[in-house]
Subunit: 333 residues, 2 copies
């Protein structure tokens, strides 16, 4: 038996909390610290946040650098923001202390797609610190991208790919229901659309990961967001959607080779969506379809894949890595 | 652009031929030689074997060591036998010449499962030669094992796994139809059963790979083979199956933790099997199902994953590696 990997949880929102809770159950991973900026959380034992009966001895602190300097963890589970520029300093601090990072930051899935210079600077910092930075998750990170790449392994040739994900937002947490605009009127939705507050973050990165994984040198990546209107009234534990008003969104991502659309990602997240599922269709020889009949539950599964990727991040050569270079993710015990 | 990986094809049976043909279409892989012991193949241009219009310039030769010494390839696609002791010398010769090996040898999927000493000796030879030996394929190697391991990445906990593969043997090549006993009478099947000629090779290795990948320290691995009787007459291009006689086989593999069956692999390959498919069911939190609705076509897909794993084998640290340690397989261009 090798020693457990010593882990600090950074960011204790819903995903970070789920990851921390899971870490407490793993014998090959040892949660040694927790960091969050929220004053309402700082100073509390994790047990209070996670509704655990017994104190964990891990008390939430606010100073990341101090925590890392004291604890010298092998790795950090990072769940603070979707946007790479926002988390740059956090990531730098981690790798400066030699801590490998597994992050839910959506833009980190393919960090050089939207932030080439920043990605390179972080890569240098990670190498200097002898640490790995790895972005992953379920969407982006698995359901609409990585799984399609893995499926391509059994094909002679792939000329196109289509991934469809249907999520019934009624089964998800309130922030997600709000994020998809559920309960808004059409006009309110369109008024707020330009603020960029709607829709799933990471669609561009999913297209970029599929392109890289399947070897499509795409010329152009596009994405669109449109409202899905409710066919009937629908009540969730958090809000009410009136027939004809906004139930959620449909988010499309495309990758083009010249004029040919070789990548189509089709994500529907709305209250009352029927038949939630994930489907990957490779236009390939032989043709391959891969279906997750009930869909992969986003929140739970994202916390899981973050924790399950820790051993891989520790094993990786230092630098900024994508899930294409990291070891095959699999359940950590 | 990096230089293409220079590859020698070793073994030109149906899978080896399909792999060679595929290699000729890849720009990042360059087929530089072909080796087979069959006098009917030696001396021929590959084009003759593969039904290609134009000569390839690659002429089949019989002396592996001489070919490797002359060609100094980066890698070998190895498709000669299912059994590790049979291929030991071939593998040694490859790694002694510094050639990385991707092999269809079923027992090489988890080489130390049935051949611990031999696996260790090969690992030492591979390290000494600075080369990797990697066993892969579709079954074993993907459909009933690796895919389940990948699916586990999105779970908190896995307490059991069931993989079901249904293959309509009528759609497969003649040797497979014969291997599953199609067309035999029940008594003939049972007479020949003890010879070990029936059934799929690698079931034990699939169970072992799942166990290792999911972290089940299984105490016992079992497998069984039984005939599937034809509900009605069935004619294939190669043979005739009479109602009530043997249409093929059902092959079960089990892994136990104490008395609990935590791994169940259920493979049916028979002429006329309805609804061919691959299904992975994780008994997990959250529960995950993954389905390949039409199934993964065994022969084609095996040739594909061998070729697609070459870059990964070249990138791996030297030694005997399993698909759990190799980079994520994905289509090579």
């Amino acid at each position: 038996m090798t020693d457990p990997v010593r882990v600090v949880s950074l960011g204790l929102g819903p995903i970070g909390q789920a990851a921390a809770k899971l870490l407490l159950q793993k014998s090959t991973l040892h949660l040694v610290g927790a960091v969050d900026v929220d004053p309402a959380k700082v100073g509390k034992d994790l047990a209070d946040l996670l509704d655990l009966g017994e104190a964990t001895g891990v008390v939430v602190e606010s100073d990341l650098g101090a925590a890392l300097a004291r604890l010298q963890p092998d790795a950090v589970v990072h769940c603070t923001s979707s946007f790479l520029p926002v988390v740059e300093e956090q990531l730098r601090t981690c790798v400066q202390h030699g801590a490998n990072v597994v992050s839910s930051t959506e833009e980190l899935l393919v960090p050089d797609h939207q932030h080439a210079e920043l990605a390179q600077a972080l890569d240098e910092a990670a190498r200097a610190g002898g640490a790995t930075i790895l972005g992953t998750g379920v969407n982006p990170g698995f359901a609409m991208d990585f799984a399609a790449v893995v499926a391509s392994a059994v094909t002679f040739d792939v000329t196109g790919v289509r991934c469809t994900r249907v999520v019934d937002a009624a089964t998800r947490r309130e922030p997600l229901q709000r994020k998809v605009g559920a309960g808004l009127s059409k006009s309110e939705f369109h008024k707020q659309l330009d603020t960029g507050r709607f829709g799933h973050i990471g669609m561009r990165e999913s297209v970029a990961l599929v392109a890289r994984g399947l070897g499509f040198a795409v010329d152009k990546i596009e994405h669109t967001v449109e409202p899905v209107l409710a066919p009937e009234d629908h009540k969730t534990p958090f809000l009410f959607v009136k027939e004809g008003e906004v139930a959620g969104i449909r988010n499309l991502g495309f990758g083009y080779l010249g004029k040919r659309r070789v990548i189509e990602l089709d994500l529907s997240m709305y209250v009352g969506a029927p038949d939630p599922h994930d489907l990957i269709e490779l236009e390939s020889v032989p043709p391959i379809q891969m279906r997750f009949p009930d869909g992969i539950p986003g929140d739970q599964a994202t916390a899981a894949i973050l924790v399950n990727s820790l051993h891989g991040a520790v094993a990786c050569a230092p630098g900024v890595r994508t899930v294409l270079e990291a070891p095959v993710p699999r359940i950590a015990r």
